[in-house]
Subunit: 337 residues, 2 copies
């Protein structure tokens, strides 16, 4: 079976001409979570984004040992502008890999492919899943797994998983973040974009991504979507079954009451229902699954209200409710031991 | 957007050298449900399967107006034996289409592709989904939809859906079977193999497959897998959300207590749990969804026990429990009006 993609570091993060950091969330995420993987950033004229890394050209990055140019911004319209392409070609011709998480595959672009052939580097369209993924079989496997699940898309499932991995490692626990989306893959250097997997192989992909491990090792798996999302619930359920989680953390954005995006008025399911349904369905492949915490993004809430809000959730659901940014996730990790 | 595949009839059903009808379930299904689409069958030396159609060569079928050679058997090992390929090439060179539901794609075979180019026919790998499927959006759409769901794989979801369509039409209702697997696609002449769709587009594929329709028209959608199947539950949930069913029929094989196939001892969820979970999750895209019947495959049960068994289920779940083969589905359709 083809293995999940493996990126080579150090990275040169490409920010293009992104107007600001909101347009460069992938790059800022990589720089935030894995500064050790990032040699520098490449910004074109007019770029207003900044990851706080040294600015450098492809040539300078090469001199510093960079192995991969990571496209850390999403262009308007989804396809690569010509002005960006020149930098990609320069990096490939110099032997660097090009790592792309956009929906449009760069490996299919003849100019890009030719540059890679000349330089000997790889074009890594990280959303492409491995070939020959198996169907899931649900067989119990060794090791412990924690999955972040959500009330919706974009509520902080990746952030929570990375914060949990960091906290677990800081306490001497064995923990590995397992990436299921493109930004997570750049951060982990490997992973599988589960929403790009053919449906038949969804749970099997997660079994490959988070294989059997030492009994005291935690895989911290990045969740996707929500069981109550009209577009992506199938992805969430395949991920839940494949993960065989021992523990789930429910992620939510405080104050969000409707599904995010262009959907008909679709209320979010209640936290009670999200918890109960995730646990109920997860028991199929791990009867011992339990809820170990809530990760609440309170960024739209006044700081003064956060303490009471989290305390009320903790009281109501009987597990620690934290904001990974504002309070950290220590309370959740304490409960794991 | 590319439309779902459209097959041309009449069909010549290819049975190869299948030892018996169990190996030719696709062909026998097509012949059973759509005898009007089938001109004849092509059996090689040693074939022990029989769809009850006239035996004919490709040349004879052409003379009778056949438009498509349908591969109605699954070969050992999954790939097309050379001895079968010769017949496929003969049909393609004569201008017929070749319809294939195997996992291996015949369009990629150079000999097959060359024969199609010479003859002008199409190689229809019906498991290939349309390009450019959208993500689902869950917007309510006109028309009524019934989805067959299951306690497991291979419990009769396609059969029940086809029986329901037939009964509904016999009563003057407007009804269209919507195929979600390869055999169903041969029967309907169109459809989308949802388990071959990229996960992101699962519910969107079903929105395309069963689009808005007249208010009194029923789409009868073939279910796949089960919400409690460790490999395929994601497919089942995406299908459930995309279908926006007004009505569900739960399909089950009497006496089956374990997930079918090579799985760790995995008990089937109880009928109560299957019903409750399907309804609970279906409400996301259709709050008015209701259970309208149970379709029970009682083929392993003595005929004398069937009446009591179905009566007990009817009593317990408050909806008609039928065996589509032994009792027909009239009781379910009566309750729909």
């Amino acid at each position: 079976m083809t293995e999940p993609v493996q990126l080579r570091s150090p990275y040169l993060l490409f920010l293009g001409d992104a107007p600001g950091n909101l347009d460069a969330k992938t790059a800022t995420g990589v720089a935030h979570w894995r500064p050790d993987l990032c040699l520098g950033q490449l910004r074109m004229a007019g770029c207003g984004a900044d990851c706080g890394l040294s600015d450098m050209t492809v040539a300078e990055a090469l001199e510093g040992g960079a192995r991969t140019l990571v496209i850390g911004v999403a262009p308007m319209g989804g396809s690569l502008p010509e002005s960006w392409k020149a930098h990609c070609i320069e990096a490939l011709e110099a032997g660097m890999d090009l790592a792309n998480g956009l929906h449009s595959r760069l490996g299919a672009d003849p100019d890009i492919a030719a540059a890679a052939a000349r330089g000997g580097g790889r074009v890594l369209d990280v959303r492409d899943p491995p070939n020959d993924l198996p169907c899931g079989d649900g067989r119990p496997r060794a090791g412990k797994r924690l999955l972040t699940v959500g009330t919706d898309c974009c509520v902080g499932k990746m952030f929570a998983a990375l914060a949990l991995e960091k906290e677990m490692r800081a306490r001497g626990l064995k923990a590995t973040f397992r990436a299921t989306g493109q930004t997570g893959i750049f951060i982990a250097g490997t992973g599988i974009a589960v929403d790009a997997v053919i449906s038949d192989f969804l749970s099997g992909a997660v079994e490959v991504l988070a294989p059997a491990n030492q009994a005291d090792h935690w895989d911290v798996i990045e969740g996707q979507g929500s069981l109550f999302h009209p577009s992506y619930a199938g992805v969430s359920l395949g991920l839940l079954h494949g993960a065989q989680p021992d523990a789930i953390v429910v992620c939510h954005e405080a104050g969000r009451s409707q599904i995010d995006g262009d959907y008909p008025a679709q209320s979010l399911a209640s936290m009670e229902r999200i918890i109960a349904t995730n646990l109920d369905l997860a028991r199929l492949t791990n009867p011992a699954v339990r809820l170990v915490g809530l990760a609440i993004n309170t960024s739209r809430m006044p700081q003064d209200d956060v303490g009471n809000h989290l305390a009320a959730l903790t009281e109501r659901h009987g597990v620690p409710a934290v904001d990974p940014v504002r309070t950290g996730v220590a309370a959740i990790v304490e409960g794991l031991a």
